[in-house]
Symmetry: C5
Subunit: 90 residues, 5 copies
């Protein structure tokens, strides 16, 4: 999983069946110290994350398992809103 911060929204009216009603957010991946990594990715969200929230995302085809009974064509999903992070400096 990767750490990131929700930085934006994206809207698409015309889309693949099965995705209607699913919310999509831009998430800026980041290192534990908050420095950004690459460009923001688009993640599905079902737990109500909002702009500015620090989140954990799962990428790849495992993202679809947030919904157990239907296989969705999604490759990134927010799986948790982060309370705190504690990383040792090495």
């Amino acid at each position: 999983m990767r750490l990131g911060t929700v930085v934006g929204n994206i809207w698409a009216t015309r889309k693949e069946e099965g995705l209607t009603g699913l919310k999509f957010l831009f998430v800026q991946l980041e290192a534990p110290d908050g420095s950004p990594i690459e460009s923001p990715v688009i993640s599905a969200d079902r737990i109500g994350a909002g702009i500015g929230d620090r989140v954990m995302i799962t990428t790849g085809s495992a993202a679809r398992f947030v919904i157990q009974d239907k296989d969705l064509p999604i490759d990134a999903v927010i799986i948790g809103i982060v309370d705190s992070v504690d990383v040792e400096s090495r």
Copy 2:
């Protein structure tokens, strides 16, 4: 998912079974501000995207779930045509 713009077409008459009739497009991945990321990728399209459309694509094996009853050997698919994007500058 990744943001991109449809920039071209690709034709292949001789191909794997099961892919006949599926349309393939080149999509230039891009950051929310429109700056290009890497080289264009080839995405399947079932929702009628055209050159110049801004799209969301799903990559990896989850791409196959746009078709529920058949497992296709595809690794990228256009899942939506983007209406608008709203990303905070940080």
Copy 3:
């Protein structure tokens, strides 16, 4: 999917069961303008591609779906031989 050109062969007599009889080729990934991207990857081929052919490959676990009734441990497969490419300069 990615665009590439077949640039070589690889032979392996001792291999995992289930892969016997499957042909493996080196494919040099490339941008639409033909410039190479990274090092050549090894792709399975069932459609008879040869050295110099421009091809589309599917990577990741979806590659296995070229064979519907057996799950093979392959992560790249040639899915089409490219007739033509038309990409807009931006």
Copy 4:
């Protein structure tokens, strides 16, 4: 699989169903000589790894197979605590 060292913890109270009770740790990927590679990733852990332990992690959707009867939306998991590594210099 990749080699790494456990460098931190992450807590998320609000998360996707099915992930409750699963422990998440930051793992710094590294080369066999211990030099760090990229930023720390977040891995699930079921075998009791702790800060400072050298571990093997599996990434991608195969990570979910640490639990056989339930498909979890996780993309990295610690699969072993490393006793020793022996790599030839070339």
Copy 5:
């Protein structure tokens, strides 16, 4: 698939169930001309590869299909020991 050379061993006594008895090796990925690519990855091996062998590896969740009746949490496996490689210079 990727080309590489076996460069080392890794041992982990405490590990996830289902992995007991499976051998893990470090594989240095390389270009067809033998130049190394990135850091060595850890691959499962069932075909008896040894230090110095040139091998083909499959990465990602398809790696698990080397064992048909059990889903293992592995993301890289040696699928063949390379006899010869023939790549055109371009």
